[in-house]
Point group: C2
Chain length 195, copies 2
DNA sequence: CAAAATATAGACAGATCTGTCTATTTTCTT
DNA sequence: AAGAAAATAGACAGATCTGTCTATATTTTG
């Protein structure tokens, strides 16, 4: 009724475009998927895209930021579902990884792939992708603190390395074994950090 | 004199082309660097390229395989230079990482970036890149065995995750700190594995 | 219902891409 | 010095790319 009553869903077309973009970019790659392919798949006119985004790069950044929010929400939910034991909560991250690795359309990490497709560290897409990894690291630091690690930031840094390494390995091998390797290593590091 | 006397250096032009390709691909990316750009930079005719390689993809695979050999040689040398202590030899890998991260033109790992630019796991470029990571893992397993790890393959797997995670982090942050994080974690895991 | 905002199809520009072909020149080998 | 092999420049095809523009149609809003 009054202005600013309905944020509306931002725009159905915009959302649909971003969903299709996310799916195609993840399946085939950011650079290889062209605007025309995306528009045909989404069934949306070209000018609609360019009315919502000034460029393909801006669309990619928007997709990455949306995915960042979604992944963080899912990860936080997985941690919550693990109960109250700080150790279990921390290790739940690695169980969550395994489930992800075993999912049908798993093709690595969209953020890591974005970092690599846009290797210039000052590129907005590169930065947006890394921002997600930093956010996850903040969560890990919190979990490490709650688990009583003597130097939580240090433990979280190591866990981040294990996680990203495990994602890479799972992508290349098609196996989810790296989740167990990472979990086992994380468990050792956690014990060592809480002595 | 007799046939097969001189493998020749395979071909000076071919080598020069591959060197230029490696440099440009690493600097800017495999997909973004076009054949024409590469040829202009190398000062080589297009038909020379297509006489040595059937396609751009084949050139990329050749570049990756050459880089694989070079990196493995450098890594082995770094290990040898670390002396005879098995622990020192294993941890030398992480010191070598730090030097690499701090080098002027460091832009992440060409193999990881190739994996991400060609995300389809059956793509020849993806496979060639992963082959390198497997070869490094073999070296790590050997070092873990010599260091007396009870389950060397398990330790090597964890070290591989730390290494690849550290490379990603160094690329995105521009800092070599992740080498120290990975080294510290590796040290803990090694001690735990040799109790 | 009328006005304003949004979406449409599709042509278009201009650049780029990989790979092929040809005709000429340079380099190597004997 | 002569013949074979390798490299050259550059045109060319045909496809693709991002982004712009226009004129029409649809949807939303007051």
């Amino acid at each position: 009724m009054s202005p600013a009553a309905a944020p509306e869903a931002v725009s159905a077309k915009r959302t649909h475009l971003m969903n299709t973009a996310q799916r195609l970019f993840y399946r085939d790659g950011f650079r290889i998927v062209g605007i025309d392919t995306l528009l045909a798949e989404a069934g949306v006119a070209k000018m609609t895209l360019y009315n919502h985004f000034t460029s393909k790069d801006e669309l990619i950044v928007a997709v990455i930021e949306k995915l960042d929010a979604d992944v963080r929400t899912a990860l936080a939910a997985a941690v919550e579902a693990a109960g109250r034991s700080p150790t279990r909560r921390l290790l739940a991250v690695f169980d969550w990884l395994k489930v992800w690795f075993d999912s049908a359309d798993f093709k690595g990490c969209a953020f890591i792939r974005a970092l690599s497709e846009y290797p210039d560290p000052v590129h907005p897409i590169h930065r947006a992708a890394w921002h997600h990894k930093e956010a996850v690291n903040v969560l890990l630091t919190k979990l490490a603190t709650e688990a009583g690690a003597s130097r939580p930031a240090e433990l979280a840094a190591a866990l981040s390395l294990l996680i990203n390494g495990a994602i890479l390995s799972a992508h290349a091998t098609g196996s989810s074994d790296s989740a167990a390797s990472a979990r086992a290593a994380a468990s050792v590091l956690l014990k060592q950090a809480t002595i």
